[in-house]
Structures are given as structure tokens and as C-alpha cells.
């Protein structure tokens, strides 16, 4: 089976399954963090410190989930020696990294 056809083979299905698992785990963890953090935030009082940390964690996991999905895809394409898609997903990772760098640049300017 040539690499060009793997979108329709078991390799493609395997990739889709691992992507699905990464997304499901990420969404679940971030939603739980955000929900608990938000409830603590509304309740106020001594729980405020925990709520800030939980909300921060929830946002970070939320944003990291698509990044993790791309990393998993790159790894899987590498295992299948599908170098064209290793390069493509690698480009996406570099762009995501560049946006983090751009965020830091803006942060220090303000």
C-alpha cells in the first residue's frame, strides 16, 4: 500500500483514533478544570487562589490540546515513514511555536 493511499487504510483509521483520544482527553480535563474553577470563583472566599490556578490550567490545557493533536500526528506519520506529512505537520508546529513567541514579544512590549 503506497503512502498516498493511507488515508483510506487502517493506518488512517489508527491515526484518526489516536487523534480522537487526544482531543477527548484534552477537552475533558480542560472542561473539568474550567467548571470547578468557575464555581470556586463565584463562591469566592478562601477558594479564590485555587480557582485562579484551575482556570489558568483549564485555558492552558484547552489551548495545548490542538497542539498535542498535531504532535501525535507528526509522530504517527514518522512511524509510517510518510515524510511528506511529517514535514507538513512539522510546519504547523513551527507556526504554533511562532505564535507563542509573538505572544511573548507583545507581552514584554506592554
Amino acid at each position: 500500500m503506497s503512502a498516498a493511499q493511507d488515508g483510506l487504510t487502517t493506518a488512517g483509521t489508527r491515526l484518526e483514533r489516536s487523534i480522537g483520544a487526544v482531543l477527548r482527553v484534552g477537552v475533558t480535563i480542560s472542561s473539568v478544570c474550567l467548571a470547578v474553577g468557575l464555581v470556586l470563583e463565584i463562591l469566592g472566599g478562601p477558594a479564590a487562589v485555587a480557582s485562579a490556578a484551575l482556570l489558568q490550567a483549564g485555558i492552558i490545557v484547552l489551548v495545548a490540546t490542538p497542539v498535542a493533536r498535531v504532535i501525535v500526528s507528526t509522530a504517527q506519520y514518522a512511524r509510517e515513514r510518510d515524510w511528506k506529512f511529517v514535514v507538513l505537520t512539522g510546519i504547523v508546529l513551527v507556526e504554533l511555536l511562532a505564535s507563542a513567541v509573538a505572544a511573548l514579544v507583545f507581552n514584554t512590549h506592554l
Binding site: G7, V27, L88, E95, L96, A102
Partner: protein
């Protein structure tokens, strides 16, 4: 320049303040936006941004930043549910992500540099276009080839529950899909919407991708696109965690309800209503931008 100083001061005065009431209001608005977005297949951002900006008077950059976090959440949860059904064209998605993420990065940077009035006018233009597209209804001229046909390196094949048959398609005019994706990435980050409103019609009408596959692939991609932009808004302090949390949870609940009970909803009627809402939003954004 005195005028730009005033704008800056105005922005600072309107910085969102977190109160339990605001959190509840944003959660409710997120639920409504998520449900409408799921029913219409256009995501919740296009409703959430005007609500936060025009309704609650948040700076447009804060509204877009918060909406982008809901775009990421929607993309992840919807795609997690669909993974394994072969409806998402993963290879096409990964290829187009190289340009949507680049567009998202550029859009996020541009959003920090443009005057709010310019962003408001752009939002007005995009909502007007979406309203027109929604009213016209997309033609379902999907290319359905013989099931035994070879879909090529980027095409796909999936089982369609509606017709009970296998749909095979080839991707045509790839450069056009790439250009539309780059534009979608820019618009997504700049305005806080998913960008599917640009990609899905192009993929479907000109690139040979059946509507359901185009929508699933677009929903898959917007998580990465929105991440590239959201990181910049976050670094700029425009995504306040409690407000983003309320919006994300609301949109998640809303889109779940929309997908769960959507089959019985009067979608045609809803489309007309929402097209009218978007037309009003478009006018209001122009009025704001023209001040």
C-alpha cells in the same frame, strides 16, 4: 494624536470586570450562541463576538479572544466525537492547516495593530456576507463518484448515513482551497470566529469536497487555527480566564444541545431569523466603526 489617545482611554475604561452576574450572563450567551452555531453549522463565535462587544461593551479584541477559546473547545469536542467515522479528511485538513495556522498567526498579530474601528468594519462586512450566504442556501452539488473509484492522495471515502451509500470524492483545485484557508485563518484570528464560513463553501462548491466532509474537515482544522491566534490574545492579557471559562462551558453545553435536539428544530425558520440577526449586527458594527 489626541483621537488615538481617546480611543486608548476608552478601551481601558471598558475593560471587562469579573462579577458573578457577568459570568452567568456570558455562560447563558455562550449556550445560545453554541446552540445556534451547531444548528446552523457555522459555530458560535459569530454570535458571541457581537454580544460581548455590542451588548456588554467589551473591547472588540477581548470579545474576539474569548470567542477564539470557544472555537478551540468546539473544534476539539466535535472532532473527538467524529474521529473514526472517516468523515474528517485528516490528510486534507493537515495540509490546509499549514496555511490556516500561518493565517491565524498573522491575524492575531494584525489584531493587535489595527484600530478597533477597522476590526469593527471588517466584522460588519463578514457578517453581511454570511447573512447572504445563509439566505441563499448552499447548493448540494457534491461530486459523488463511483464507489470503486480511486480518490487520489487527498480525496476521501466515507459512509453516508443519510443516503446509506459510500461517498468517494477527489479534491480539485487545491491552490484555491489553500488560498481560501489562508484567508479563513486570518479572518478567524482577527474576528474571533472559526473561519468555516469561508472554507466550507469554497471546499464544497469548487474543490469537490461533499458538504458534510467539508464541514467536518473545517471543524477539525479550526482548533489549530484558533490556537495560533488565541495564544497571542492570551499573551496580550485579552483572554480573562473566568470570562473565557464561562463562554467555553456555555458554548459546549449549547452545541451539545444543538446537536442532540437539532433534528427536530425548524432550521429553515432559524436560518432566516439568524440571517436577520447577522444583518443587524453588521449594521451595528459599521455604526460603531464609523464613530
Amino acid at each position: 494624536m489626541p483621537s488615538s489617545n481617546r480611543t486608548h482611554e476608552g478601551l481601558r475604561n471598558r475593560m471587562p470586570i469579573v462579577t458573578p452576574a457577568i459570568v452567568v450572563i456570558i455562560f447563558a450567551a455562550g449556550t445560545l450562541a453554541g446552540a445556534s452555531g451547531a444548528l446552523l453549522g457555522i459555530g458560535g463565535g459569530i454570535f458571541l463576538v457581537p454580544f460581548l462587544h455590542l451588548g456588554l461593551d467589551f473591547p472588540i479584541a477581548h470579545a474576539a479572544g474569548i470567542a477564539l477559546t470557544t472555537v478551540i473547545a468546539t473544534s476539539s469536542s466535535v472532532s473527538a466525537g467524529r474521529a473514526g467515522q472517516r468523515l474528517i479528511n485528516v490528510r486534507l485538513g493537515m495540509l490546509l492547516e499549514t496555511v490556516t495556522a500561518g493565517g491565524g498567526l498573522l491575524g492575531g498579530v494584525t489584531a493587535q495593530l489595527l484600530a478597533p474601528a477597522t476590526v469593527q468594519r471588517l466584522f460588519g462586512i463578514v457578517t453581511a456576507i454570511v447573512a447572504v450566504i445563509m439566505m441563499r442556501r448552499l447548493g448540494s452539488s457534491n461530486v459523488i463518484l463511483d464507489p470503486a473509484a480511486e480518490p487520489g492522495p487527498l480525496g476521501g471515502r466515507y459512509y453516508d448515513e443519510m443516503t446509506g451509500g459510500t461517498v468517494t470524492y477527489r479534491v480539485k483545485r487545491l491552490p484555491l482551497a489553500v488560498a481560501a484557508s489562508f484567508l479563513a485563518g486570518n479572518v478567524s484570528s482577527l474576528l474571533g470566529i472559526g473561519g468555516g464560513v469561508i472554507k466550507v463553501p469554497v471546499l464544497n462548491a469548487w474543490c469537490g469536497v461533499p458538504l458534510r466532509a467539508a464541514a467536518a474537515t473545517s471543524a477539525f482544522m479550526i482548533g489549530v487555527t484558533a490556537t495560533a491566534g488565541a495564544v497571542i490574545y492570551y499573551g496580550h492579557g485579552q483572554i480573562m480566564p473566568p470570562l473565557a471559562a464561562a463562554a467555553v462551558l456555555g458554548v459546549q453545553l449549547g452545541s451539545w444541545c444543538g446537536l442532540r435536539f437539532g433534528a427536530r428544530a425548524p432550521v429553515a425558520w432559524l436560518k432566516v431569523l439568524m440571517a436577520c440577526v447577522l444583518a443587524v449586527v453588521s449594521v451595528l458594527m459599521f455604526v460603531r466603526g464609523g464613530r
